[in-house]
Symmetry: C2
Subunit: 133 residues, 2 copies
């Protein structure tokens, strides 16, 4: 049988607050989630896939609005495939820039840390010299 989870369980599974899941649905990032007889949400495989998609992009810094644009195109059907592809390519370029910058900053930070390290080592050597005299 297909896995079916409550909002609390889904929240746990993806480590996303239940309120956030409702929020994503409200603003149209998630399609309306199926409800049981008492009106509680039942999340299924297709929802999980969507949540993963959203989470991944969000963690990479893609805005909710941009994801919404994509999802909207998705709903418009197959004829939007070229636009969707274009949109993803643009997003890809942005992320590549971001990754590039990040790697530079990481290098810079390593340098600064190394400088501190050098300072500390030099200090300790001075200390030892003092102790010897």
């Amino acid at each position: 049988m297909e896995e079916q989870l409550s909002i609390a369980q889904t929240s746990q599974k993806f480590n996303i607050a239940a309120s956030t899941l409702r929020y994503y649905e409200k603003i149209g990032l998630m399609d309306p989630v199926e409800k049981n007889a008492s009106g509680h949400r039942i999340y299924k495989e297709k929802d999980f896939r969507r949540i993963n998609f959203i989470k991944t992009l969000r963690e990479a810094g893609v805005t909710v609005e941009q994801i919404k644009t994509y999802v909207d195109l998705f709903h418009e059907g197959e004829h939007t495939i070229p636009q969707r592809k274009q949109l993803l390519i643009e997003q890809l370029h942005l992320l590549q820039k971001q990754a590039d910058n990040l790697l530079h900053v990481i290098d810079d930070l390593k340098d600064i840390i190394q400088n501190y390290e050098d300072t500390l080592v030099k200090r300790e050597m001075d200390q030892r010299r003092k102790n010897r005299t």
Copy 2:
């Protein structure tokens, strides 16, 4: 002579709004900037270096608050070097995680784009076959 720029010029040089420069100063990311006789800010080399530091980290997603913590330690003097080093190392780990995730997302996006590409190519081939009959 040392380069001296007005807030407007500095804003241009770094592509950061003048209001943002004032804001950074107000919250203590920047040290109080020197002023001329009529109370206008004069930015100099040491300010440029600080602005660069802030800009680089901000672009990598480091929060203003975290940068503030670092700057505060800096002001406390040399004895905070071990703490500063520790702080930067932690930040470095975070950024490395972020870069890692970003590279994964980039790969995922490339896959999705390739799928769209395949779909489009397949469509065109179907179209040609139709035209031939």
